[in-house]
């Protein structure tokens, strides 16, 4: 980053006041590869989580309007894993119209005075230079709204890195008062699994027509979905949209019951004609009310936090190990022996691990 860094209290105050420039700068720290930026980002997130309270959340809406909070109960005092916020995965095969759908849903929410953040997980963005969401003109109306915050996918070498950065960014945008976070995936690779590990509700968009193969939907994705919505249900596509709805209604009935106690719903909508969007949002609210009441909502957040702790430990441990000069030297010496079959992989591993144990801390 070329621009001057703020002090930590400046970041905290700026984010909690809903200052979008400061929020964007903090996210840039999260996305930075430089260790000093990473440390600063961790400090900011840490202080926001500890210092934040439900009282601070209502004042940082830019328009100071009183927004009815009938969707969710107030946050539990003393914890900042706030059930007031809703993290929504939005997935679907390329061409299903995710951007126009997000614009339609986002506009519906901001028109009711809700603050909405739109994030993305796109491990291909470093190759395609951020094709997804990189161009805000794809969500022209939403990006012009004071209540919306749109951030392109972080770039990174691996899905793991990209996903981790998005997970941290969720904490920042929530601290800035964005209570609804929409997280888009590109619909290729393993990004749906990553987004599933950081969201409260999983929305799968479908095309009119029928059958997973026609839809380009990978195995396992339908099983993850809480809400399926056949998009582009307009004009002469209404009939085939209904066919798709019937097909997936049947498919979801065949799936085993979910831990959440929720039975997946299959809806139809048209982002273009703005049809079915409010019904969809009501379904999200229904899902949330059910899972808050039966305890799954917070239990799921705890599970996700546990998962990300394990992931971060694993990544950090490997990075410390393979970055260690003694390990690198011993591995360079022994790996050829293993590959030639002159040494057992397990004996070599024991020696390399020994080099790590004896290193200078």
């Amino acid at each position: 980053m070329s621009r001057r860094l703020h002090s930590i209290p400046e970041y905290i105050a700026g984010i909690r006041a809903g200052n979008r420039v400061v929020l964007g700068q903090a996210i840039t720290l999260v996305e930075s590869a430089r260790p000093e930026h990473q440390a600063l980002a961790q400090e900011i997130i840490g202080q926001l989580l500890v210092a934040g309270s439900s009282a601070s959340r209502s004042v940082n809406r830019p328009d100071d309007s009183v927004v009815p909070q009938n969707l969710t109960p107030k946050s539990v005092p003393g914890t900042q894993d706030n059930p007031q916020t809703t993290r929504i995965a939005i997935t679907g095969a390329p061409g299903v119209g995710k951007s126009t759908f997000i614009e339609a849903l986002g506009m519906y929410l901001v028109e009711q005075g809700e603050k909405v953040a739109v994030l993305a997980i796109d491990p291909t963005s470093s190759i395609s230079k951020g094709s997804i969401l990189g161009d805000k003109t794809r969500m022209e109306r939403l990006s012009a709204s004071d209540l919306a915050f749109i951030r392109p996918s972080p770039s990174g070498e691996s899905l793991g890195g990209v996903a981790r950065k998005t997970r941290e960014t969720i904490l920042l945008v929530e601290a800035a008062g964005y209570d609804t976070v929409l997280i888009e995936t590109v619909g290729v690779g393993q990004s749906e699994i990553a987004v599933h590990s950081m969201t409260d509700v999983f929305l799968l968009l479908l095309l009119p027509g029928a059958g997973d193969e026609l839809q380009g939907i990978k195995r396992g994705i339908v099983e993850m979905a809480d809400i399926l919505a056949v998009n582009k249900s307009d004009g002469d596509r209404v009939k085939s949209a209904n066919q798709a709805r019937a097909y997936y209604l049947n498919a979801t009935h065949l799936l085993p019951p979910k831990d959440s106690g929720w039975t997946p719903r299959v809806l139809a909508c048209s982002s273009q004609e703005n049809v079915g969007i409010s019904e969809l949002w009501n379904t999200v609210k229904e899902y949330k009310n059910l899972t808050l009441a039966n305890g799954f909502f917070m239990e799921n957040r705890r599970r996700q936090a546990h998962y990300w702790l394990q992931e971060a430990l694993d990544a950090g441990l490997k990075s410390a190990f393979f970055g260690d000069p003694a390990v690198q030297a011993r591995l360079a010496e022994l790996e050829p022996e293993v590959l030639a079959g002159r040494m057992s992989p397990f004996a070599a591993a024991a020696k390399v691990l020994g080099a790590f144990e004896r290193r200078e801390a």
Copy 2:
């Protein structure tokens, strides 16, 4: 182990002489959880790999008969990843008749003077007390042969642990002159993936009839197979066996070409009537000749060695980390904070990793 341990030279000499009692004792060391047994096992395997030579291989056949070695070229001097040996995965759904098939194939080989070892990967064996192969009466004739060595699956808490022990045992039985190693899986869970990572050729047994679902075959298993054999092709099952063969012949034609350059074959056999066993063995030989000639055979072994090195490093690193008292203390303190949402998983991970870095080596 209650019995007295041998000295390392005694183990080496015993194994290289094909002494099955000593071989069994060495495998017990591999399977032991005690660190001193593990260290001894590693030392034995290490010395066998380095000291072994192709000259030593022909003398340790118990009957000293001259066995034609037309199947494979002599081992490359200076390496003990010996292309003379053949590691064969034998998989298939429960009820397909793996044990009777292994007995039929094993008897066919020992009748030609080949030494055959039969191992297994069964992560359920610790629960079921070694149902698979545990009872040698399931292979009564083969277990009575001087040329056969049958060892039940190691038990262990995880598939990873069981697989690792089997992978090490392969090195021991090969050092004892067992040039053909058959490795059976239980056909449930992920054991096929594990066996695929340590074998040269992957054999999938099928039942007469048709369709993956009827056969209870998991996704991805057919894709791994080099040879598919419809077992129990006898009596009034010959017709439905041929149906299954046609079905899988078609299925394999739809698969992408394999790295090995080999086109999967679909055969029919009857373990009970001893039909199709020699054809099957000829197909294994064809596979081996092709992949030795095009370089895939040894390349695949190198890839597998690399995989197991990475696995062993990963397992050892995690064990050192999570076994560290400073890590345990810090994790016990911070994990509740993460689960309650008061601390970011990434900040907590950084602190726990810091505790590991600063520990007493």
